[in-house]
């Protein structure tokens, strides 16, 4: 059993598990950290961005034309090109061999088109319906943002190792930029997602009959799940982004994950030192403070997930502070479908939200906010938005990387006033680096990271509860984060049974497969004559033909009775078993005319002495010896008498 770790970022996982005869991909996360090395793509021409100074290394003597590829903003250098993404290491193995892809949440689907398209992939993809729809929205938004303002050229010269090492940090530390890929197309997205088969929580799905996979709620976002992969005698659990906090999704289920042979754990929080509740409070306070001072609030966000909670908490707080009249805008190409879908996924929501459906009310308050006009959503800043826009307001829009999307426009618009505030809640991008190309920026930047996935304390508690035999984690989780080197509490407690992986690792999972389940055909089963060897245990001899098909093993009656193995019918071989009853043995000997018998107890059993025949029989547990001085006839007689006294099978 092997585990291939394809992703370099534990929060964007991608694994391949080879288990029995199947090849299973676990998640398909896309690391978008590379985006921060690129210049933002504004919606309307930005003279500031276009007038940024071109940059090239002082001692560059190479042949490639680098002049138009890099631009400097302050001390940072950015690539002026279409944005590119870091893919999982998909070249480690042949993707056409992947039988099935299991997706845990919509954020771990973003590399899917790179896996399924143009790769020869012909397997199945399993995901819950909200994961599918959420993933689709994220991908569509991404494609829309990237394709809306296409960059004319693609920069590749700067990736040359000679140039790369001359670049300033952090761009010079970019990992393998040659492997970065441009964004997929909407066609690829549709083609890839068309292969997804929707599953429900706790629905058992067999993969070629070899293993059964089951999704159970992980409590992280709508429809997010953990997976258990089970054969008849082995169980592997994959714990992806999970949350034990009470937010809008269905709570995390623990029982399906208990007592596994191996548990693979990923996607722990990236902000282990902050409490999400406190950060929501900080977010609401900062928003209210900015609005009361007459400023606007910009929230770079994804179109789903925590954004729903932000709508809910912020609207309540704004009411409480007497700011009900301040509008909230939500701008995303998928804003409409995101808001609509979230309210029809009642079965995937927490009990509190689910019960609202029976009132009947919309599970999320944003439906009411939309109805009353407090939350206004638009696909983009053009069109009806410009008629409704008024200031001050709260603006939720993408993309959190600040490299494309409507957020770029609003930073350009509001960045010159210190009365406005940009609040970062998403944790995918370091906010200071995200803001780097917009410097100098007067608007206030506030960091309120809200990551509801498991923190280290919760993860350790979960591991103690679930009791896996072996735990697989990223080696990053085994030591404190770089920013908090002395916080020894911010690690996963490891033991000898913990297996750690690095990006690109191939792990041999220590599962020794011992048994396999075989079914017996009814006809053959009916012919068996079981013998009870001890209370509750019966044994029968069986001979048949083992047929293996679709990873199922069936024992059938032999097709040709004459060819029965070992001549079990005619010269049937018996197996004797049981303990010899000395009384019965002596009486049988008497029946056969041997009456001069002396029985002695020995340390290992009994010694039967036949003085008249000058013969000794040593009877011990598991062996009998007849010492009869070469009298073969007597030995055979004695052997037959002894066998008569034993049970037969």
């Amino acid at each position: 059993m092997k585990l291939y770790c394809l992703s370099g970022e534990p929060s964007k996982p991608c694994f391949i598990l080879k288990f029995k005869t199947t090849t299973i991909m676990l998640d398909s996360g896309l690391d978008m950290g590379s985006l921060l090395n690129f210049l933002p793509v504004p919606l309307v021409h930005s003279s500031r961005l276009s007038s940024l100074k071109k940059w090239k290394p002082n001692d560059y003597r190479g042949s490639g034309k680098i002049e138009n590829e890099l631009r400097a903003c302050g001390t940072n250098v950015f690539v002026d090109s279409a944005p590119e993404f870091t893919l999982p290491q998909l070249d480690i193995l042949d993707l056409s061999e992947v039988d099935v892809i299991l997706l845990s949440n919509s954020y771990s689907t973003l590399a899917l088109p790179y896996v399924t398209e143009y790769s020869g992939f012909k397997g199945m993809i399993y995901a819950t319906e909200p994961t599918l729809q959420g993933g689709r929205q994220l991908m569509e938004e991404l494609v829309h943002y990237v394709e809306r303002m296409p960059k004319g050229s693609t920069a590749n010269v700067w990736k040359n190792a000679d140039i790369l090492r001359c670049l300033p940090a952090p761009i010079k530390d970019a990992a393998n930029p040659l492997a970065w890929k441009q964004c997929y197309s909407l066609h690829d997205v549709n083609s890839s997602l068309a292969k997804v088969q929707m599953v429900g929580f706790n629905e058992k799905l067999t993969v070629f009959g070899a293993v059964t996979v089951t999704a159970s709620s992980s409590g992280y976002c709508i429809g997010s799940c953990n997976w258990s992969i089970q054969s008849d005698y082995e169980k592997i659990c994959y714990v992806a982004a999970s949350s034990t906090l009470t937010t809008h999704p269905q709570p995390m289920e623990h029982s399906p994950l208990r007592n596994s042979d191996v548990m693979i754990m990923s996607q722990l929080t990236r902000t282990p030192t902050v409490n999400p509740d406190a950060m929501i409070g900080e977010f609401c306070m900062t928003t209210a403070l900015t609005l009361r001072n007459g400023g606007n609030v910009l929230v770079p966000c994804y179109p789903s997930g925590v954004t729903y909670d932000l709508f809910e908490c912020l609207s309540v707080h704004m009411d409480s502070c007497g700011l009900s009249q301040v509008p909230m805008f939500f701008i995303s190409p998928v804003a409409d479908s995101s808001l609509a879908y979230s309210n029809i996924f009642a079965e995937w929501l927490s009990q509190g939200k689910k019960s609202k459906v029976y009132l009947p009310e919309a599970p999320f308050p944003h439906a009411e906010l939309v109805n009353t006009g407090r939350l206004k959503h638009y696909p983009g800043i053009h069109g009806p938005f410009s008629d409704e826009f008024r200031s001050p307001c709260v603006m939720f829009t993408g993309h959190p990387s600040l490299r494309f999307g409507d957020v770029v426009h609003f930073i350009e618009l509001w960045g010159k006033s210190s009365g406005n505030t940009i609040i970062f809640t998403e944790t995918d991008f370091p906010y200071l680096y995200a803001l780097a190309p917009f410097q100098p920026l007067l608007m206030k930047a506030v960091h309120c990271p809200i990551d509801t996935s498991l923190n280290f304390g919760q993860a350790n508690k979960l591991i103690r509860d679930l009791k896996p035999r072996h735990l697989v984690i990223s080696e990053r989780y085994s030591h404190p984060p770089a920013l908090h080197p002395h916080r020894n509490d911010l690690v996963i407690e490891t033991d000898p049974k913990t297996i750690m992986y690095k990006p690109g690792s191939v792990l041999n999972l220590p599962i020794k497969r011992t048994y396999e389940r075989v079914e017996i055909e009814p006809e053959l089963a009916a012919s068996l004559v079981p013998t009870e060897v001890k209370p509750g245990v019966a044994v029968a001899m069986v001979a048949g033909t083992l047929v293996t098909k679709d990873n199922k093993h069936v024992l059938k009656a032999p097709s040709d009775p004459k060819s029965k193995v070992d001549g079990l019918e005619s010269g049937r071989r018996y197996y004797v078993w049981g303990e010899l009853d000395m009384q019965e043995f002596v009486s049988k000997l008497a029946q056969h005319g041997i009456t001069d018998v002396k029985v002695e107890d020995s340390a290992a059993g009994h010694i039967v002495h036949l003085p008249s025949d000058d013969t000794l029989i040593q009877i011990e547990e598991g062996s009998t010896h007849i010492i009869c001085e070469g009298n073969e006839g007597l030995r055979v007689r004695l052997k037959d008498i002894l066998l008569q006294c034993l049970s037969k099978l």
């Binding site: 409490n275 509740d277 406190a278 950060m279 409070g281 900080e282 609401c284 306070m285 900062t286 928003t287 209210a288 403070l289 009361r292 001072n293 707080h317 009411d319 409480s320 502070c321 007497g322 700011l323 009900s324």
Partner: protein, 765 residues
């Protein structure tokens, strides 16, 4: 029969006494139809009667009392705690009359009282305890042969309970009885109980597991010592030391804390302070004036577990607060500062290594107690006139407060305590000229505080927003004269954000913000800057506040807005050239408010207007735009001046509102309106606008508020019609008058027995 919530009543008028007796006589004979509440009422009524009138004078009266009490003590009714409470109270009150002791014994009340010493109801326990105490004292003072020995038997019974009962609650109550008795009959008790035995028993109980019992026993020790200062067998200091050595540190410290109370202060010579501050010194690791090593070790050992550490530290802080309130400095400011750091999550300093940090971290009770002490310290230094200066740790403590205040998930009560502390801290800093830029840290502290206050004014919890906006108001009220504070308020937009809080969704915050706006408006620099920054005029401000008075859903906010407008008027020129007619219109409308306190506030407003209009020779600034004021500007003959003023009061709706309020359903509103009208009427009489003793016979109803534009003749005619003296007398009666004259109430109760008149019953509230 029904009861009301007027409570029991007494009277001395013979006619009414008969009525009461008639009622009480009926009570025992209608047991089947009366519910328990009627019995409670009857017994309480009897108690009220007994308080002023000897009910044991005649056999008939004695019968009423006996019958009522006997009926009340029947099993079904006796199970009701309010019955038991009422009966014990009645019997205690009765004991001042001759023959009452016999009656109490006859009713077997002593047995009942002893049984109730551990009653589940604290009220019953208290009344039973008082009855037993009174019984013993009465018996001691009663010189008749038949009852003079009762106290001996009772003291013995109490002694038996103390010595042999396993009921902790009962023992604690008995200890309380002894505490009361020692105040009055110490020698009598010691005649019955051997003092040595008594002290030994107390000593044993002080060391028991029950906190209540040990506390009461310790208090009794103090009472004993106060009553018998010469008794050398009880040395309180040794007692405290022994308690510590036997592991009862919390009891010892409680004893020390009690010794700091004013009534026991003479029993100790400063040593309880040393004991009390010791836990704080140990927890904080600062060794100042350590006690003997044995006691030090005993305290250190006792706080080695979390719960004990928290309890002992809590007692210690309570004692320090007590000392500080008495103006004494227990010399542990630095230790207190360290303790606060130990409780704080944000603190990253040396205290992290303290072994007690894990116990004390984010313990709200300890944090609050420590903050209360800190507040007392600041007050102490603020009130200090000797100029001894402030401690070195002062700036650090203020820095701690500001740092901690920034923590997002802080408990709202702790935020409130921190803000309470910060106010005297800033005053202290001003007093000691610490706010200047030369003193390092303070500018940083103030900057950080400004940013934190901004956020707290928008906090998720309305309680925090409320306490923060109040804090800003108080700072402005007391420190805005200081240039640095004034600039700081403006720099951090605390004035504009406070104004924004007037629009908050929570009524308490709105009310708090309005009070703060009042303080802000007193400082011209801040107020004018606020209007410039928010781009609003004074007219906009007034209109917004008037809107709150007219439309706010909560009485708190309406009252606060009204107070603000009233104060502005009283202060003088704030409303110059403002929409004065809108103000008057709003005030006239507010006369009909649902909240009686708002209406009272409106009358206060009108009172100020009347004072200013009638007392000044020239028109007040806010009246210069009125039509009627033109008549006043020197063109009016002198004799006509007063009439013009009254005319003006009528035209702005003041007179109309007063007449409307005279008929308000709320007594206090009616009273206030009567007082104002009486003043006005007296001045009208003095100026000859109306004739004395010539009350008009007109039967016209009083004008309705807001419906007509009242003319001066109509108003003058109306006040002439009104018998204001009678109205004022009627409205000045307090609710006690009903207690003193319960005739109507009794009639109501008796009448309600007749089913056919059920519909006529009037709901009294």
């Amino acid at each position: 029969m029904s009861t009301t919530n007027h409570g029991a009543a007494t009277l001395t008028c013979p006619q009414l006494l008969i009525a009461q007796k008639r009622f009480l006589h009926q009570v025992p004979h209608t047991s089947s139809v009366l519910d328990t509440q009627v019995y409670v009422f009857a017994v309480r009524l009897m108690g009220q009667l007994v308080a002023n009138y000897d009910m044991l004078q005649t056999p008939e009266e004695k019968y009423i009392v006996t019958a009522c009490v006997q009926k009340a003590t029947e099993a079904e009714k006796w199970s009701e705690p309010s019955i038991r409470n009422a009966v014990f109270t009645l019997l205690r009150l009765m004991l001042k009359y001759k023959g009452a002791l016999d009656l109490v014994i006859k009713l077997d009340a002593i047995h009942l009282a002893f049984e109730s010493l551990s009653d589940p109801s604290l009220f019953v326990t208290g009344s039973a305890q008082k009855l037993v105490t009174k019984l013993i004292i009465t018996s001691v003072t009663d010189h008749r042969q038949s009852t003079s020995e009762i106290h001996k038997s009772l003291i013995k019974q109490l002694w038996v309970v103390l010595r042999s009962s396993s009921d902790v609650a009962k023992k604690a109550t008995v200890l309380k009885i002894f505490q009361d008795l020692f105040h009055e009959i110490s020698n009598v008790i010691l005649e019955e109980v051997n003092s040595l035995d008594f002290l030994q028993l107390l000593n044993k109980m002080i060391r028991c597991d029950s906190a209540v019992l040990s506390r009461e026993a310790a208090t009794l020790c103090l009472v004993y010592k106060r009553s018998n200062p010469a008794d050398s067998s009880l040395d309180l200091r040794s007692e405290v030391c022994n308690l510590m050595h036997s592991g009862h540190v919390h009891v010892a410290l409680n004893l020390c804390r009690q010794l700091l109370l004013r009534e026991y202060q003479h029993l100790a010579d400063g040593w309880p302070q040393d004991f009390l501050r010791q836990p704080l010194i140990i927890v904080c690791g600062t060794f100042i004036n350590p006690l003997e090593s044995g006691q030090f070790a005993a305290i250190a050992k006792s706080i080695s577990k979390k719960s004990a550490c928290l309890e002992v530290t809590g007692i210690c802080l309570g004692g320090i607060e007590q000392l500080l309130q008495q103006g004494k400095d227990p010399c542990s400011f630095a230790a207190l500062h360290t303790l606060l750091q130990l409780t704080s999550q944000e603190c990253q300093c040396d205290v992290n290594h303290s072994q007690y940090r894990k116990f004390l971290l984010r313990q709200p009770k300890i944090q609050k107690a420590a903050l209360r002490c800190l507040h007392q310290y600041y007050q102490l230094y603020l009130n200090d006139e000797t100029g001894i200066g402030i401690p070195d740790a002062f700036v650090g403590s203020a820095q701690y407060l500001v740092d901690s205040l920034g923590c997002v998930d802080l408990d709202v009560t702790i935020v409130s305590e921190m803000l309470k502390c910060l106010l005297p801290a800033i005053k202290l800093a001003i007093c000691h000229s610490l706010l200047s830029a030369e003193i390092q840290m303070w500018p940083e502290v103030l900057d950080l505080l400004g940013g934190t206050l901004q956020k707290r004014l928008c906090d998720m919890h309305w309680e925090t927003r409320d306490s923060t906006v109040e804090f800003v108001g108080k700072i402005c009220q007391s420190c805005a004269d200081d240039t640095t504070v004034n600039m700081w308020i403006r720099k951090h937009n605390l004035h504009t954000l406070s104004w924004e809080c007037v629009k908050d969704g929570e009524s308490y915050v709105r009310a708090g913000a309005l009070a703060t706006v009042g303080h802000l408006s007193r400082d011209t620099t801040i107020w004018e800057n606020m209007k410039i920054v928010k781009d609003i005029s004074q007219e906009d401000v007034v209109h917004h506040i008037l809107t709150i008075i007219s439309t706010d859903t909560e009485g708190f906010a309406r009252r606060a807005a009204l107070d603000l407008i009233t104060r502005w008027y009283k202060d003088g020129n704030q409303l110059h050239a403002q929409p004065i007619n809108d103000v008057y219109r709003t005030m006239v409308a507010a006369t009909k408010d649902f909240d009686w306190e708002v209406k009272l506030g409106v009358l206060t407003f009108w009172g100020n207007i009347i004072d200013q209009v009638l007392s000044n020779d020239t028109l007040p600034s806010y009246a210069i735009n009125l039509e009627t004021s033109k008549k006043f500007k020197g063109v009016v003959p002198e004799e006509k001046e007063f009439e013009t003023k009254v005319e003006m009061l009528c035209s702005i709706g003041c007179c109309q509102a007063l007449l409307f309020s005279v008929e308000d359903y709320e007594q206090s509103v009616r009273k206030k309106a009567c007082e104002l009208l009486t003043t006005l009427k007296a001045k009208c009489l003095d100026n000859g606008l109306i004739q004395g003793n010539s009350r008009s016979k007109s039967s016209d109803p009083l004008p309705t508020c807001g419906e007509i534009n009242m003319t001066t003749p109509i108003f003058l005619d109306s006040i002439q019609q009104l018998d204001l003296e009678a109205l004022l007398a009627e409205n000045s009666k307090s609710c006690d008058s009903y207690e003193n004259n319960p005739m109507d109430l009794l009639d109501d109760i008796l009448a309600s027995q007749r089913q056919d008149e059920e519909d006529n019953a009037i709901d009294c509230y």
